[in-house]
Amino acid sequence: MRALLSHRLAGLAAIAAITVLLPPFFPSLYYYRVGALVFIFALAAVGLNLLMGFAGQVSLGHAGFLGIGGYAVAIAPTYLGLPSWTCIFGGALLSGLVAFLVGRPILRLKGHYLAVATLGFGVLVAIVLTNEAVWTGGPDGMSVPQLTLFTWRVRGSDTWYWIAAASFLLGATLALNLVDSPTGRALKAIHDSEVASSVLGVDVARQKLAIFVVSAVYASVAGSYLALFNGHITPDISGFLRSIELVAMVVLGGMGSVAGSLVGAAVLVVLPQILTALHDYEHMVLGLILMGFMIFLRQGIMPSLIAVVAGRRT
């Protein structure tokens, strides 16, 4: 029994249970919508967490991959007539390729140089998306054709809630699997000491690149879902602020905690919804959250909670 409880996927089982048990209590479709958005961003956050929380490589431009995935399911079906669901894979493939090409030079940098280089990447993607209006519809964006699987038209906040939740659980499972493996240990080692890792046989550059690509794919799928769900996309999806939101989700929830990614996404998606009357205060609050956590609670919510609970038991 104890082995079952401490199994790495035990937490996920709990989350799955909550996911299934919540909807009967939803007063309206609106709650499904919020839930879907939480799971979509949590998916992106899990990917970013693998890169930042485990491997320790900061990325301030990850929203660039959200944009690639999002515009892939907008442009290809509209102009090339491809079915949307293949474009989700296509976008992921493209994001992976871009991450591979961009990552090789960029990941040689460290610390604030890496931070700024990734920031530059993200903003460049946003600029290109804004400027190439012929394809992308420019600053006002373009509409995204609905996802159709064979004859089933995927629509409705409730449908997307289940799709997003299932995808997040799948993504989280893959991530937890990776963490409990030789590569997972190598990544954590790289975070603490690249020199020692290298001397023990870890191909540091290759591992960093691999996890960068993986995290890009996560973000790309999330971006595709976002575009398909909303039916519309604008270049803001790749903007600097978006990237910062993703980072805030990871930091808030806890770097290195997969469940934390869900918590972080939940807070940062639900908060603006609560503050709709105070929509203008969104930036202020985001800034305060980021500052507050980075100054006072750097490990984030989940690791702190776990530490408190563990402390109580001993």
Binding site: L109, I127, N131, I244, Y281, M284, L286, G287, G292
Partner: protein, 290 residues
């Protein structure tokens, strides 16, 4: 030829602003190893605060002065409440704190001011005059002159005053500076305040030309950082050179290649510098000891 000169002067003007932002970055970086992303917000605050103070009836020169003081105070507060408490955090954590501060300041500006574009009257009138066929705005010269004055003042401060020497000491070795009795906390705070003031002045000077709004800060910070990197982060002279160079790159590429991608130039510069010569034109590299 006239076109070339036109771009040249435009490039110098916008380059002067980037140089001042970059100088602000460099001052803070040297004093505390922090890359301050809120630097751009200081420029924004300078312009916006002046506009709104003037709107309430305060005479323009006084409004400008007040705006500079207020921005300097905000810079000091940033250090005291956001940077100091996080002492010992990794460089990346510190960057994220300043990014958080930048987003926060922008959010506050959104509420206190508004979301529209605003302008200030140019000091010597808005009529461009002709020089060798190029149309030059008098305010452009004001910006360049203002930047030159600030650079000079800063240089004299660092070179001639005890306070300036203290800053250099802190930049060289913080612990040693404390051991000889320098109050690092106060002086680093002062650097933040000075940096903010410099940004505010830049904002006030350039608003008559480029207008200002609550969100001009982000792009400016990134471009200022690109300029600082180009010149060599940590070098004051490099910041100025980097700023002017970046201004030139931007204006000439916008003029001769494509104006759509004007903003992309700064980021391409960042990436190019990081890969080709990370220490910049004038910087020094570091060796990691194992």
């Amino acid at each position: 030829m006239a076109e070339f000169l036109q771009f040249f002067f435009s490039g110098l003007t916008v380059g002067a602003v980037y140089a001042l932002v970059a100088l602000g970055f460099t001052l803070i970086y040297n004093a505390s190893d922090v890359i301050n992303f809120a630097q751009g917000e200081f420029v924004m605050l300078g312009g916006m605060a002046t506009v709104f103070l003037a709107l309430t009836g305060v005479p323009l020169p006084l409004a400008a002065l007040l705006a500079i003081v207020i921005t300097a105070a905000i810079g000091l507060a940033l250090h005291r409440f956001a940077i100091e408490p996080a002492h010992g955090a990794s460089p990346v954590a510190l960057i994220m704190i300043t990014i958080g501060a930048s987003v926060f300041l922008r959010g506050v500006a959104q509420i206190i001011f508004d979301k529209r574009f605003h302008s200030l009257p140019p000091i010597f009138g808005g009529e461009p005059f002709r020089l060798w066929g190029a149309a030059i705005l008098p305010q452009g010269l004001v910006v360049m002159a203002g930047a030159a004055v600030i650079v000079l003042l800063l240089w004299q401060f660092v070179d001639r005053t005890m306070l300036g020497k203290a800053v250099i000491a802190i930049a060289a070795n913080r612990l040693a500076a404390r051991l000889v009795g320098i109050d690092t906390r106060r002086i680093v705070g002062l650097c933040f305040a000075i940096s903010a003031a410099i940004g505010a002045v830049a904002g006030i000077l350039v608003t008559p030309i480029t207008l200002t709004s609550y969100d001009v800060g982000t792009l400016l910070a990134l471009k200022g950082f690109a300029a600082a990197m180009l010149g060599g982060i940590g070098s004051g002279l490099g910041a100025v050179i980097g700023g002017l160079l970046l201004g030139m790159f931007e204006t000439f590429s916008a003029g001769y290649i494509s104006s759509k991608y004007k903003d992309a130039v700064a980021f391409l510069v960042i990436l190019a510098v990081l890969f080709a010569m990370p220490q910049g034109v004038l910087g020094r590299g570091k060796i990691e000891r194992v």
